[in-house]
Symmetry: C2
Subunit: 322 residues, 2 copies
DNA sequence: CTGTTAGCGCCTTCAT
DNA sequence: ATGAAGGCGCTAACAG
């Protein structure tokens, strides 16, 4: 029809016809069907963000960056929560492929290659966000967890701490692995790697942090500082410490990866290694959309954004032994 | 084709044919095209959640409830941030209609009827979430902001406060209107409505709260208590108070609508009127999906969920005059 | 400048 | 039990 030409401003149409069509469109409230269009073009102008839990403010902020960058280029975003489950992740990816999602931003639930091979087999572009996947060449946007943790723990060591516990996220998740590695490196460099330093793993949640803190506190030899694997863990840790009556930083120091958004907390108390969450979302989306247009660099990109040490009040020199 | 029958388990197929098809599917990694299916059935199994800002933990939690309820019934969810802009809202709704979204969960940016009439003209089911829209019969899931505010302010009055400032969200937003009304009712009931009580409006954000608090603090006659219109406002308020050196609750009391998720904050300090955010998302989604199946009650539903007063540490008796 | 044809991938209907 | 036809709404390519 001439209608199509009018709507897309393509080809030539007489003024008279164009006006008649526009009038009809207005009168009928006609809205073009993007499904049919997508069917023809094999392009839906939709991408997906698959995260483990949108409730974590880090991912919320990433999501906001994604949404902003996507809508700038007229893309819509679908959100999926996997709850760190590889099974859920695969199920979502399947649905997304069925729905002809143009591309996926994936925070992988585990270090498995399965999801990525599936997407590859379906020719669906992916950008991996926040985490690494070993044994697979994919575009990735993340921070350097190893280096960040290293610097954070070195900061503790410089304050004088000699016994530091690491309260990390799930053992299978790359960020937890890398942060542990950075922690170990800092210890080793200071000649403190006696194999006695407690490294615990639990979920990236307030509850996980609470449980790990309680466990560390029940051990015979208390550390003078705790390194929390992320923001939620830190909150659980602080709660446990308060329950036991330990003051921070007087009795024990605490540092963490990931900040808590300043809009949510009245006193910025925690000393942290922040990641530019919004920027991560933005950059990942821009890279993905570049890929969709066939633009962008030819080779696989591994974009590593800088972290930043933000010194606040939760860490100080170790308490002198009584 | 027979293929379709196999995939949908419909009609009769011989075992032999079925097996041959299944083998081919596995070998080719075939995934059915939901676009084409949607085109035929006029059903995409996708709904949308349009909020003002996913970064606000209240909406994040709502979103989580939505996602969980939707995926239970095999629906996917698209997310859109309007930033309280009616224009953005309409633009998103247009895109959503184009994409044949089956239904919309809408947190209206303003009290305008425009978005709802548009959706109605397109026969797209909506459930309004969190806010009211006047002059339009729509399914709604929200809390009673008026009553919640009334109880919260009454609590302050019972503590002995006689001069209470209200630091509210945008003047055009129903929750801000209702919370102001509840505040006024509590004052009136206590015979305190002398028209002198400060009621300010700004954005539902930490910055807005900060600005309003600074303004109130610069007035000649200080209130003894502040009522913050939501959680983010409360954070800004507390920050402003701290800056000025006022202690809470010793020097001044603060209460707020909306909690901050306990996973994010180490000391639950703020006395608040909480809303069951997750439940709001869940119920709204269930209602919407019922509508889509043609189930559910015939008449327009207005589901009002209970709020709960959570007394913590940020409010106490007014400070005796020096 | 405008209309026709054809096909994107699916499924309902009807025939075989 | 299976295949063929046709149409959901759209547009590229080709008539007219």
């Amino acid at each position: 029809m001439t209608v199509s030409r009018v709507i897309n401003n393509s080809g030539h149409t007489s003024r008279e016809a164009r006006e008649r069509v526009e009038a009809a469109i207005a009168k009928l409230g006609y809205v073009p069907n993007a499904l049919a269009r997508g069917l023809r073009f094999k392009q839906t102008q939709t991408i997906a963000l698959v995260v483990t839990d949108i409730t974590n403010p880090f991912f919320t902020t990433v999501a906001r960056g994604v949404e902003d960058a996507a809508s700038e280029q007229s893309f819509s975003v679908m959100f999926c929560n996997t709850d760190e489950s590889q099974g859920e992740e695969l199920e979502y990816l399947n649905v997304l492929v069925q729905k002809q999602t143009d591309g996926v931003l994936l925070v992988p639930a585990s270090d498995s290659v399965e999801s990525l091979t599936f997407l590859k087999s379906q020719a669906t572009p992916v950008v991996v966000v926040d985490r690494r996947v070993s044994g697979f060449q994919v575009d990735t946007v993340r921070c350097d967890s190893e280096q960040g943790a290293y610097l954070l723990v070195r900061y503790l060591i410089e304050l004088g701490h000699r016994r530091i516990a690491a309260l990390m996220g799930p053992r299978a998740v790359s960020t937890a692995i890398d942060r542990s590695a950075g922690y170990q490196r800092a210890l080793a460099e200071a000649g403190l790697d006696d194999g006695q330093h407690p490294v615990l793993h639990d979920s990236y949640s307030q509850k996980g942090g609470y449980r790990m803190a309680r466990e560390v506190l029940s051990s015979s030899q208390l550390p003078t500082a705790l390194f929390a694997g992320n923001n939620l863990i830190a909150v659980g840790v602080l709660r446990a410490l308060r329950e036991v009556g330990l003051r921070v930083p007087e009795d024990i120091s605490v540092v963490a990866f990931d900040d808590i958004p300043e809009s949510l907390v009245m006193d910025q108390f925690l000393t942290v290694m922040t990641q530019p969450a919004y920027e991560i979302g933005r950059r990942a989306t821009e890279l993905l959309l570049d890929r969709l247009c066939g633009e962008g660099p030819a080779d696989v990109q591994e974009i590593v954004l800088p972290t930043e040490l933000v010194v606040r009040k939760s860490a100080g020199p170790p308490r002198p032994l009584a």
